[in-house]
Amino acid sequence: MWSTFIVTLKANLRDKSSLFWLIVFPIALATMFNGVFGNLDQAMSITPVSVAVVEDTNWTNAIGADTLITALSGKSSDTSKTHDDNGTNAVNIDPGVTLLNATKVDSTLQARELVSQGKTDGYLKADDDGRIELTLSDDTVTVANNGTQEAGLDVSLSALDNVLDQYNRTSATVKSVLEDNPTAPITRTFWNGINASMNATKEVTLTNFKPSVMARYYYALMGMACLVAMSYMIHTVTTAQANLSALGIRRTVAPLGRAKQLVAGFLAGWLCSCVCLLVALAYIRYGCGIEVGGREPAAVIAVVVASFMTCAFGTMIGAIPKLTTGVKQGMATAIACSLSLFSGLYGGFAMELSDLISRKAPLLAAINPAQQVTDLFYSLMYYDSYQPFIRTCAILLAMSTVFLAAGVIMLRRQRYEHL
């Protein structure tokens, strides 16, 4: 049995076709995903805009302008600290997202020079009324309008524009109120009004991990790669069946029971599937930077469970009587491809279809192995609790039991007709 295990292991690991489909294909597809869709997340993220800040007289007169720029640069200033009841510095305000990389200059001329040299994207200056103005280079405007070149720049500029506009409006309002009523700042109503005019959105993560638009595609890819690994067991079962291969004849006539040979083959197939899927997972995790909720050990367990299921599935397909190996391998590929459609591998439409099935026909989703493998990783990423992960593992193990039982029944019933 040990020698059968080793030989099957060697045969599997030297089978270039399987290695291609189980290692090269997922890596190639993951790389493609990364290349095509990788900028999606970046496009929605904020990247700092490089600007020159003209610190002339107007700037000095613009109250709070420095504080604003410091905050937008992601730095804490003295004024951004709150004070506790004892008057001591207690809490630092989180400066949040960095919107600016500011370079201070003394004049507009210097600022323009930096822009023309391409060292900054634009410059900020204050006018006579203390309003801050942002001037952008032509190149920056062009790049921002063409979202494919520098992902996130348009979002950053939009955010920056919004913040500056808010500052200018608030500043103008305060000035106007002070001119009409210089004692207004001593009233709570005044400051409440100022605060009420400012609105902001704070990002709060409710899930276990920050959601990633792309992660589900990679998880669905793992689901497909997992199902492709059925081919190992189809090969193993076929080469143990006397009615399907000469190898099967030779092995059936040998004094080692078919059950032992199949168990050894199953273990070898399982190990190979695990190794291949772990390679794919490692690439997706570390090569493409797709997170698994910071639960890498659990992701390894997910691979172990998923590959066990696929080996059981392969055993069942391999045991179907009266079908040639080619037909069975073709079936495996067709099953992997079609079930992956319903797990959302093929883009937005497939993802919506997958969600629709999960909502409207949860039983169908539950019996789709590709969906369940996808859900394994998904549950690691999004849920605080391990409960959904354990539940998905249990579903996959139940599926495996059904597949194995069907496979064993078919294998036990088979009679050979040709040598």
Binding site: A11, T239, P255, R415, E417, L419
Partner: protein, 329 residues
């Protein structure tokens, strides 16, 4: 005590030697309405090379399947070395080797790894197996190809690897199912010599082939079967003696007339005569004076006789006479 043991052991060994390697009695196997084996009988003696002949669909493969317990059967008994053969007769299986018609090796393994693996199914301990594997490699003449994978081997070498995988564990009974299909004459000769060598070393061989000359060359006894039934059994000479066909005479003659050809055909011993304008070919029944009588007819008609050959009946003649000339599936 020791002498008593020896005295008892001798009759046991003698009895074991007389037990047929394979004994098949009244075997019936049906596939639905089709009868594949029709009360088929077979006895293969230990130490012989036994040829199993039959046209396609005659039931050879089914018979072998039943003997190897790959197939269940409706009636009859199968015994190997005196023991009933079942799918779990592992002790018996250890004594059996098989060389299937199609090459049955792992394409991903090297020559040595393949032989070692198939041997390991019979001989689990690596230390015991290593010399057997080495011996099989030498037997098959694969010393220079140990690290080669099957994809890199020629057709002849592949066949030799196939044989090495089937015999490495030194079985007592070996099934060769058309082992020389699609190999060149040199490899075929090497394979046949190898089979004879195995037989001389004590193995019983059951050999199936469509090449009559091979069967005639190496088999001690031959069974011809058709429609799942036993048609004839014996040595090649015994089989030839069973049929009506005698020698086949070929005479080179350029001036044979239609009248002379008709006179030849009219001879009592002539089964069939044909003339293509250059050669007269005559298939004769058994008889001691066929050639003399035929030459007498030709001389009387004035035909000039050139080169003349007379070939005794072959196993092919026996096969065709017993199984007919109709094409099979």
């Amino acid at each position: 005590m020791a002498s008593e043991t020896n005295t008892n052991a001798q009759p046991i060994q003698a009895a074991q030697a007389t037990v047929p390697a394979v004994h098949v009695s009244q075997l019936v196997k049906r596939y639905g309405d089709m009868v594949a084996l029709d009360y088929f009988d077979l006895d293969v003696k230990q130490g012989e090379i036994f040829g199993l002949l039959g046209p396609n669909g005659s039931g050879k493969t089914t018979a072998i399947n039943c003997i190897l317990a790959l197939l269940t059967y409706d009636k009859g008994t199968v015994r190997v070395f005196g023991e009933p053969m079942t799918p779990t007769s592992y002790a018996l299986k250890r004594r059996i080797g098989i060389v299937p018609q199609n090459v049955a090796v792992f394409n991903e393994l090297t020559v040595t790894e393949n032989i070692d693996y198939f041997c390991s199914l019979y001989v689990p301990k690596k230390a015991d197996r290593a010399p057997l594997v080495e011996e099989a490699i030498e037997f098959a003449g694969l010393q220079d190809f140990r690290k080669f994978r099957p994809g890199k081997l020629s057709g002849g070498l592949l066949r030799r690897l196939n044989i090495a995988c089937g015999i490495a564990h030194k079985p007592d009974l070996i099934f060769f199912d058309e082992p020389t299909v699609a190999v060149d004459p040199q490899s075929r000769n090497a394979i046949l010599e190898g089979i004879q060598k195995l037989n001389k070393a004590g193995a019983t061989v059951i050999y199936t082939s469509h090449y009559m000359e091979e069967v005639e060359q190496i088999c001690d006894r031959i069974l011809i079967m058709d429609h799942g039934r036993h048609l004839a059994l014996g040595t090649a000479d015994e089989l030839k003696a069973m049929i009506d066909t005698g020698e086949r005479i070929t005479i080179e003659t350029l001036d044979l007339t239609d009248e002379t050809l008709a006179a030849v055909r009219a001879l009592a011993f002539v089964i069939e005569a044909s003339y293509d304008g250059r050669e007269l070919e005559v298939r004769c029944r058994r008889g001691e004076h066929n050639l003399v009588d035929l030459i007498g007819v030709l001389r009387t008609s004035g035909a000039n006789i050139g080169h003349l050959t007379s070939r005794p009946p072959s196993l092919n003649d026996v096969f065709l006479e017993l199984t007919g000339k109709a094409l099979r599936d």
